[in-house]
Symmetry: C3
Subunit: 136 residues, 3 copies
């Protein structure tokens, strides 16, 4: 199994980061198999979505409705609203698996692989890539 650990700078604001170019680079020259992407963090998630047409702010808007950034959370430390960040991975999964054919990850025209990081207290994130091939 081929693996790689990406370092992603998400900064001090909440961030939606496109991981697709790094994923494509990781798979270059590989064959068929399954790619798993996972985040070893308890306050971020992964999404397949269209970027660049406004859905980023639409997603934050809906997340703020589901997980208001206020003081209601029992788990509360760090910046205001951080309690919401700890609930996020229940709804926005931190692990995704995708098929790979001839070294190309199978995505639709409008899909990008993105890291959703609402956490303003953690400017550095890691993403694990693991490619399990069928050996052919």
């Amino acid at each position: 199994m081929k693996t790689s650990r990406l370092s992603v700078e998400t900064g001090r604001s909440r961030a939606i980061v496109d991981l697709t170019p790094q994923v494509r680079h990781f798979l270059k020259g590989e064959g068929d198999g399954l790619l798993n992407i996972s985040i070893p963090h308890a306050t971020a998630g992964l999404v397949l979505m269209e970027l660049g047409s406004g859905s980023e702010s639409d997603l934050w808007n809906r997340l703020d409705a589901l997980l208001p950034r206020d003081q209601r959370y029992v788990h509360s430390h760090g910046s205001p609203g951080h309690g919401a960040d700890h609930v996020l991975p229940a709804f926005i999964t931190p692990t995704l698996t995708l098929p790979v054919l001839s070294g190309k990850v199978s995505l639709g025209t409008w899909q990008s692989i993105v890291l959703v990081d609402p956490n303003v207290d953690n400017p550095h994130r890691e993403v694990l890539l693991a490619f399990l091939t069928d050996g052919s």
Copy 2:
């Protein structure tokens, strides 16, 4: 890795489509391994749920509460409410992986594999099936 591309007609209304029979057919005669199901579309998702007892309308009801079909979305084109469709895959994942034993996908008695397609502008959908076996 064995793969197949299903064509699914979802029509001009929002649709919940049972993919289980086609998945079972795809796996017939296979051995043990992992099955990945993914949708190369930015406005649909996959769910494991019980069908035929009313949960379909319950799901639409709760999705409408989380993602109201109105004009609030920055990403707005197509039919009213289409902005909501673009946020859906953040909450309803477009990729699922399930274990397969002796060519049978492991599902509970009440679980079906379903495509959730809120998008009324796209009557045709594709679903990718990829089965990675352990070779035994």
Copy 3:
């Protein structure tokens, strides 16, 4: 592919159960590969989250907002609010896949693998573990 079927007692109250110790035990002595965890039940889900700091009750609080435990559901039988349980797996996925390196599941410091079971009518649950190795 190595598999195991865990029996989990979730009791007559809604429950968040840490599966991490059993997952680690299952993988002991294994090599590299992908671990799939799935629940053959239509009213429970799996989450990677931090335990022990209050996020458990924060998660229930937010689930109750998204899926109110009242009589609004078409699918209604069993205890009050059970209709909500049938919608839960659309939002809280019942299947997760994680990379395994040298027999160790890749989790972050604050991540646990947990079963989220809102269903008070079903005190016993099964969890399927399936480990697909690369054979090395």
